[in-house]
Subunit: 724 residues, 2 copies
Amino acid sequence: MINNKILVILFSVFISTSWGQIPQGYDLWMTYLKIENEGILTNYRNGLSSVYFEKGSRVLEAAQTELGRGLKSMLDQSPEISDNYVDAKVMLVAKRLNLDKTILKVMTSDINQIEEEGFIIETINHNGKEKVVITANDDVGILYGVFRFLQLIQAGKRLDDLKVLDAPKIDLRMLNHWDNLDRTVERGYAGFSLWNWQKLPEYIDQRYIDYARANASIGINGTVLTNVNANALVLTPMYLEKVAALANVFRAYGIKVYLTARFSAPMEIGGLATADPLDEEVQKWWKEKAVEIYKYIPDFGGFLVKANSEGQPGPQNYNRTHVDGANMLAKALQPFNGVVIWRAFVYSEHDATDRAKQAFAEFVPFDGKFMDNVLIQSKNGPIDFQPREPFHPMFGAMPNTPLMMEFQITQEYLGFSTHLVFLPKLYEEVLQSDTYTKGKGSTVAKVIDGSFYNNKLTGMAGVSNIGNDLNWTGHPFAQANWYGFGRLAWNPNLLADEIADEWLKLTYSTDPDFISLIKPMMLNSREAVVNYMNPLGLHHIFDTGHHYGPGPWVGNLSRPEWNPTYYHNADEGGIGFDRTPGGSNATAQYAKEISTLINNPKTCPEEYLLWFHHLPWDYQLKNGETLWNGLALHYQKGVEEVKDMCSTWESVKPYISKDQHEEVRMLLEIQLKEAKWWRDACLLYFQSFSKMKLPAGVEKPKHTLEYYQSLKFPFAPGIRPRWD
Amino acid sequence: MINNKILVILFSVFISTSWGQIPQGYDLWMTYLKIENEGILTNYRNGLSSVYFEKGSRVLEAAQTELGRGLKSMLDQSPEISDNYVDAKVMLVAKRLNLDKTILKVMTSDINQIEEEGFIIETINHNGKEKVVITANDDVGILYGVFRFLQLIQAGKRLDDLKVLDAPKIDLRMLNHWDNLDRTVERGYAGFSLWNWQKLPEYIDQRYIDYARANASIGINGTVLTNVNANALVLTPMYLEKVAALANVFRAYGIKVYLTARFSAPMEIGGLATADPLDEEVQKWWKEKAVEIYKYIPDFGGFLVKANSEGQPGPQNYNRTHVDGANMLAKALQPFNGVVIWRAFVYSEHDATDRAKQAFAEFVPFDGKFMDNVLIQSKNGPIDFQPREPFHPMFGAMPNTPLMMEFQITQEYLGFSTHLVFLPKLYEEVLQSDTYTKGKGSTVAKVIDGSFYNNKLTGMAGVSNIGNDLNWTGHPFAQANWYGFGRLAWNPNLLADEIADEWLKLTYSTDPDFISLIKPMMLNSREAVVNYMNPLGLHHIFDTGHHYGPGPWVGNLSRPEWNPTYYHNADEGGIGFDRTPGGSNATAQYAKEISTLINNPKTCPEEYLLWFHHLPWDYQLKNGETLWNGLALHYQKGVEEVKDMCSTWESVKPYISKDQHEEVRMLLEIQLKEAKWWRDACLLYFQSFSKMKLPAGVEKPKHTLEYYQSLKFPFAPGIRPRWD
């Protein structure tokens, strides 16, 4: 349809010359590339030359500014601002309450169906004139409508075709920043924290505004500024004043600020002798702290808490429960409509139970005991953001508790910011997983969006991959993971395919030939990383601490469940973690329909085989290969898939600028080097147990096992804060 | 002359609208603003429509690319590339050797005077055609000539007026990055390190190239990538491979890479039992290390070494001398023409002598004992980069040793990156100081540029203020300090006034009205910071460790000379450090002409009064005020000067974009807040000794002394690395 291939090529030649350049990638998916198709451009210029825009709030002002920015850039024409929309030929942006009845009459969308934060975009015929209308019940709905409209324009959608009614399916659509007060970012691979505490509150970095724009453009409405491994100082007046300045910026984009609450804060900054949640002084301290916070930030969102997990303090330090801890904080925030998001990522070094079982065991008994303003936030799988995990069995198992999904957008176990991995494919797999807790069709998405158990509160969180790199996310394609997370938090039933399509059009090019080359590469990229890192259900075999590269041989860490050897259990008899009834019986945490299937290695999906089973090296896979051969061939396949990505990328040179191309080319080179490293290191190590030869087609390792074991990376990015 | 005020205003209106924006400041002084004066523009377009450019090296290629970029941006016209310069009307860029004799004949510049790295820019009349010629003896001279030419064009210099012959006066013009391998930057206030070790060597960040361009544009030809508080790992193959990738980028811009050499590296990464410089195994290890480094980086510059200083290892650990240490490394580098830059910033906690005297005492006796490829690098003053110090008495006192100047560009003691302080004013003060070591006129500049003692090697280093902030330096005006350092390293006799003029025209606007408002503000900014932080010769009264804000009360640090109380000596009897013969006798390290002057408080310049004298609170200053009143009035004056800066900045709104204006406005707000903080905290503290009232005109402190003493900043940026 949109034949702008030649125009894109011309454009790319223009910006790839050495005469002048600006840093690329900063604009994210809001570059607002000039519309190149002349017919469409004329249609837009004609239909969008004049705009009536409702005034009256900072959110509306932000929306109007964005509309102007986008149209100016895409159409090379700034719309006139009109104060009359009844008679004139204008684009019309106003809340439903302020729409003239004659407008409502000719709209074909069912305006009564606009939900909170939702919007309608529709081209109507009014008084004989075609008018684009964006309307909503609330200001933020207008903002979201404007962003969606700009995205449709960028994608080349014809004006006379416009009819969209949409609203978010989830209430809390949040980023979790694991950002420390010294600006290091735990598991951050895109530079350092955006929050320049030193210069706040006075200095408002342009990035804060652009960060808010980017989030609003995909519907994200909450952000936790600080690391779950928390520092109590952020709750002191010096920092609250700075947090308030950020909250003030974000407010204009419909985004609320949240903080992590260190459970021991009453002792560390309050001077109390205890942080026992049943202690009255402690309760009073948190209540007063809440009053203080809301004085600074009247729309403060609430607390995110990591308690009794990996050394963080919590109620169990005082023999109290998660319910005691969460409800104590919830009571303090309740008068202000704040929420407590309590993480379920817990496991104990004093508990010999399979780590995969512990969160379920600790939390499911508390179902229904948390206050109404508490959400329990669980990672997508029962271990820790691996390239592939089965869904967490808590989803579906706590009908009376709002469960919030925690995805990781930053690629801790997925190649940092040097590997191209399109994560919406992983998110989709989790969200579409069937829990069977109410029979077939009981997907995780339905648990999360609240439709399953009619939860009053719903939420989805993504651990941010954002840093102060010029392009925000380190890898330009990692922008797609931020984008995709936002889109899925808006609607958990969107497909990865649609998201890739949208993002590519907004970021690189609408050329269908370009998209037909790159979209399949994106969609397969997650399977590639599973193949070259953790095939067949292997997990947590990363090198220690920093999780950079392979470390399946690590077995000397103080806590058993921190060791890769705990997870793969390789010995001469075989490999894998037996979670069947004969083993840890973690499978019993799933619905019968699932456990029956996965308890039997012959019916267990092979992508989860070694997650649930310990099997001999010569175990026969479905394709007839031995387990050893299958493992080796998966590793090799992963490497081949990265090679394919490299050659696919070579083929799109004509469609993008030289700099855009070169940037990803260099990163793919690293990805290929590291895919080989994973393959060679893991196969050499596992071969020391299997004693079997590499099958035909698998390349010979470049170095010895000792070489790979000798590699040390003391300054790999993203390690835990050293003051912790 | 250049009447583009109205045009600038139009431009600023255009870019200050909310329709579209790109991050500002990234382009530094290489924005290449469109020439707005129509007459000049026509002159340029006409004279520069075609270019002949010599080919044959990456440096020439970089120069040609830059010329194209700059002309395209300023003239909105890309020059044609011509392969004939004899007959055609072209701009001509070629080395002298390749110039046609007919060209040489009509040039009026004395072409025999082109020195190494120097260039000629001249408009000639050749075969009846006016031609701009840039020529040089070497490729890098061409590169420097192109950058200078673009700067002249930006400033609106007429083509027919062009005649410049210039060359650097100093050999090594270097940045010292105090960047750690974890990307934190010691004393860095502009984000984190540019060097993304994780992604090197494959991934070449566009910033590396733009960093090199910026440096080349001001003649910087060397960069030390790593912190003087060094980590030996950078000398291992894993890192050398990455360093080589950076060196490869920088090579095209005439910039050599240097590394810091941790003296104990032979033990830490070499497995030796000692690092004794007289040990043969140690000598062999360094020789082999040098061979290895030069395999990776054939033009490696050499080592910068901080030894036996603030806990760093050095030859004295083995009862050897600085000469033993430096010469041992120099021998290893000599075969490759590498140099050793050995820092003179030493003082010992075991030495009760006045810290200001120790470097002189340790180094002057070694004059003439260092190998030819060793330079001794001394900070500008005898203490540590204070807002004002007298020049270091070593300058002029070591006739047989090349002394390299170390300035700090990053504002460790000068308000971090939130205070607008134009440092070339400080540099100029130091460089133009008269050492009198060869009679009147023996300036520090002459010591540094080698003209005084005919040194074979000369150098000037600046401790970088560069980080990964979008605008590189945190404060947009801090870019002027990077720029100004480079210009003074090129020619230490340039004036701060000229530098401010150049920088403003390249960065903001050539409008003479704008410049006449802002240049005086820049030129006075350094005196303002002296007034509100350290007036009348006070020094080192900063808060502990991070040096953020005032801490004159700190007296509990383990090393006496780390305590502010050591430096101000305030008690009821008075204030100041007695460095006269009756005190530490540090004045004896200066020439007789100086010491005579400064030993007497009545003839000692008042800006150094308390640096050299301990005086009673009622001591009468030259203006008749008591010392106490004078001190208080200086603090007040500093605050008033910042208020003036704020109102001056308000007045330039019409000349620059809204965003450019707002950015500095917010920073000045912080500066004013902190200037008051300095005044109030210091005066309250000193008042506890003087017991005297604040004189009329000095504002009453906002808080109590206890309040100021209670302030803590555990996450202030720029602290020393924690792995150190």
